[in-house]
């Protein structure tokens, strides 16, 4: 049956873009504060629920729903910074890690309490059905996911490279002490970083919701795969996070078809272990010397 390879590539790319967006959120927080936020997957889930609430439950137009999502995720990012990061960052990495893990569990149950456990349907931006090009069936939502990821990356690049705010956030990520000496309000930059990563996760939820359905557990898998993507791509590298996520999506789908669908997750993690053993910096990881 012809068309298998392009079909696998296209679907793997779309799913990988979601992992890449989640990974991008991870990296931004990691670069800024040296910590990994394990509630990032639940932020994906919250973004989807916010949009569904606005558009499906309250019957608001799409653009209102999207705006509600952006504002809502910004607020969540801010609350997370104040409520989780601020109380724990001085206590060390494990305190923050445990707090974020605990928050992820609490958020899943909170969502069940508020919205119930039944999966919710998120309407699509475009036509419901797929179309085919030869033997390849194209899901329009997958095109939106890929296109949106590219657009978000461009926006992120422009923000971080061309705007004063972005430069200040980069300076904070490179060296908080030096940034403080330069007059940059580091705590404010950290808030912006968390808000930005929260919004990115929410947008990932908005993109993936129509394809997967909206459930309290939808973020968990994305979080794990995004984390793996960051490790493969190289912690600290923004292009690495995205490309690592895409690679995970492609490995997952190819191994499912060509090797075994029962063990596709194990194969992805086997690749992770191989990277940790032979290329622990990841594909684009940078060597960072530690002060002694």
């Amino acid at each position: 049956m012809s068309g298998i390879l392009p079909q696998l590539l296209f679907s793997g790319l779309a799913i990988g873009c979601i992992y890449g967006l989640v990974g991008l959120g991870f990296i931004q927080v990691y670069n800024a504060v040296g910590l990994t936020n394990f509630a990032q997957g639940e932020f994906v889930m919250l973004g989807a629920y916010l949009f569904v609430s606005a558009v499906v439950i309250w019957k608001a137009p799409f653009w209102v729903g999207f705006l509600f999502l952006l504002v809502g995720m910004a607020v969540i990012g801010f609350l997370f910074t104040r409520g989780v990061y601020k109380p724990t960052y001085k206590a060390g990495r494990f305190a923050f890690l445990l707090a974020s893990v605990g928050l992820s569990m609490a958020l899943q149950d909170l969502v069940v309490l508020i919205w119930g456990p039944v999966p919710l349907y998120m309407p699509r931006l475009v036509s419901e059905s797929s179309f085919n090009i030869g033997n390849v069936f194209i899901n329009p939502q997958h095109i939106i996911i890929i296109g949106s990821t590219i657009l978000l990356l461009i926006i992120q690049y422009l923000i971080f490279q061309k705007t004063p705010l972005g430069k200040m956030m980069r300076a904070t990520a490179q060296d908080q002490f030096a940034a403080t000496l330069s007059g940059i309000k580091v705590p404010l930059m950290i808030i912006f970083t968390f808000v930005n990563s929260s919004i990115l996760a929410g947008i990932a939820g908005f993109l993936v919701g129509p394809v997967f359905s909206v459930t309290p557990s939808m973020g968990a898998s994305a979080m794990l795969k995004g984390f793996v993507g960051c490790t493969i791509g190289g912690w600290g590298s923004i292009p690495g996070a995205v490309l690592g996520g895409i690679l995970v999506g492609i490995i997952e789908i190819f191994s499912s078809f060509y090797i075994s669908s029962a063990y596709k997750d194990a194969i992805v993690f086997l690749v992770l272990i191989l990277f940790l053993l032979f290329k622990p910096k990841g594909i684009f990881g940078e060597t960072v010397s530690e002060k002694v």
Binding site: M1, I4, Q7, L8, S11, G12, I15, Q108, D109, V112, G116, P117, V118, P119, L120, Y121, E128, S129, S130, N132, F137, N139, V208, V211, F212, S213, T215, P216, S217, M218, A220, S221, L224, V228, I253, F254, S256, F257, S260, S261, A262, Y263, K264, D265, A266, F269, L270, L272, I273, L276, L277, P280
Partner: protein, 411 residues
């Protein structure tokens, strides 16, 4: 330092893969492992004997269900249907002239928590009987503890090991088990002239055992298996599996999934051009779950489903009452939970008392009892004493996404 970093990263990687294999992959229940117990629990059958009770004391019945976790949709359905039933039961005089009180325990969609919930209900709450979870994985985890304590309970999982393995005495099974359902499915496919199915299963106790039974039966019939594909709970994209099915030349698809995956699978089948008129799909009862038609939409039309309960068809009056109270139609989870609870009530009624051995005998005394959804329950058969239900209904979704009767099938 470099070696230490590498070693630490290796450990992290191993931990991650262990996490996936234990939590994300098939949850094979290790029944030979020691079961966690309450810190102060005394593990003797004598602990399960009820204290002296007066006739005015309410009868407590425990329900272990998934109120939180990935399978929380089951818990919501169970609570709604059982609460409604108990309200009516108590309004009509209760059970043995006593009020019935339901004690819910959340198993958090996790095996160890399910076992702890069972311990609490038996040892602390002193319930008369327990309705177990709807998921086989959790039922298989509870079973050794129930047998050890000598306490009667009704498991609602479908895996036939629940009611047969290790010759259980106290574990009863309230739904048509996978000892029979695969045969009924293949009989149905044979009537359709299909002999080369693909199997798509979910990688937990329920799915793996179902798949193994289908493979064995197909081999016995001399049919071919076009391909066998798996997914895990929480998986969202099935492009690879569906491509494999398309490439295999399958003339039908047997899908043994849970409900969220069922909805997504149906939708993605259509998106990838699989025509259900050419390649019929028959799924397990999960395909009647709440949310499946929301997720699948028109992709669900023409899907066949084999289920113990299809409440809108089997008991329209009750379904209407459920809708009036909760604003949504009941699904198979609500119906199965209610049927299981009603079976426990019947067993206690026949026992005439609430001591564990009498309740156990009460279960075994149930013969040709017609439950709320108009099918017979018979326990204590020579072939399969712990199983109580041997029939299923096959339905399909019509153009309006309503269930349409196709056939009533019996072992």
């Amino acid at each position: 330092m470099r070696n230490k970093n590498m070693f630490l990263r290796f450990i992290v990687g191993v931990l991650l893969i262990s996490f996936v294999l234990t939590a994300g992959c098939s949850a094979q229940t290790q029944t030979e492992q020691p079961v966690e117990t309450e810190p102060n629990a005394v593990e003797t059958p004598e602990e399960t004997q009820p204290v002296e009770e007066t006739k005015l004391e309410p009868i407590k019945i425990g329900v272990i269900t998934e109120i939180t976790g990935v399978q929380a949709v089951a818990g919501k359905a169970a609570q709604e249907s059982i609460n409604q039933y108990v309200k009516e039961l108590n309004a009509n005089g209760g059970l043995l002239g006593r009020e019935v009180v339901v004690l819910y325990e959340d198993d958090q969609s996790a095996q160890t928590v399910a076992v702890n919930a069972f311990n609490k209900l038996v040892l602390e709450d002193k319930v008369a009987a327990i309705l177990g979870p709807l998921y086989s994985t959790h039922c298989l985890a509870i079973k050794p503890r129930a047998e050890e304590l000598g306490f009667p309970w009704l498991a609602m999982g479908l895996n036939d090991r629940i009611g047969t393995e290790d010759d259980p005495k106290w574990t009863f099974q309230g739904r048509t088990s996978d000892a029979y359902t695969p045969t009924l499915v293949l009989n149905f496919l044979e009537e359709q002239g299909k002999h080369n199915p693909a199997i798509m299963y979910i990688g937990d106790d329920f799915g793996i055992d179902g798949k193994d039974k289908f493979v064995k039966l197909l081999d016995e019939r001399g049919w071919t298996v076009a391909t066998i594909e798996a997914m895990q709970t929480g998986d969202k994209d099935f492009t690879a599996q569906i491509l494999s099915i398309r490439a295999s030349g399958a003339d039908s698809i047997i899908a043994w999934l849970h409900q969220e995956e069922a909805g997504l699978f149906l939708r993605q089948l259509e998106e990838q051009g699989v025509d259900k008129k050419q390649i019929p799909v028959i799924g397990n009862s999960s395909f009647l779950g709440a949310g499946v038609t929301d997720i699948a939409g028109q992709s669900a039309v023409g899907t066949y489903v084999i289920s113990g309960t299809a409440p809108m068809l089997q008991n329209p009056e009750w379904s209407q009452k459920f809708f009036d109270e909760y604003g949504a139609n009941p699904d198979f989870l609500a119906a199965d939970s209610l049927d299981g609870f009603a079976t426990i009530v019947r067993a206690i009624e026949l026992a005439g008392t609430t001591d564990p051995e009498s309740v156990r005998q009460g279960f075994l005394s149930i013969k040709d009892w017609i439950g709320p959804f108009n099918f017979a329950h018979t326990f204590g058969t020579a072939e399969s004493p712990q199983h109580g239900v041997f029939s299923s209904i096959i339905v399909t979704y019509d153009e309006n996404l309503q269930t349409e009767f196709v056939a009533q099938v019996t072992k």
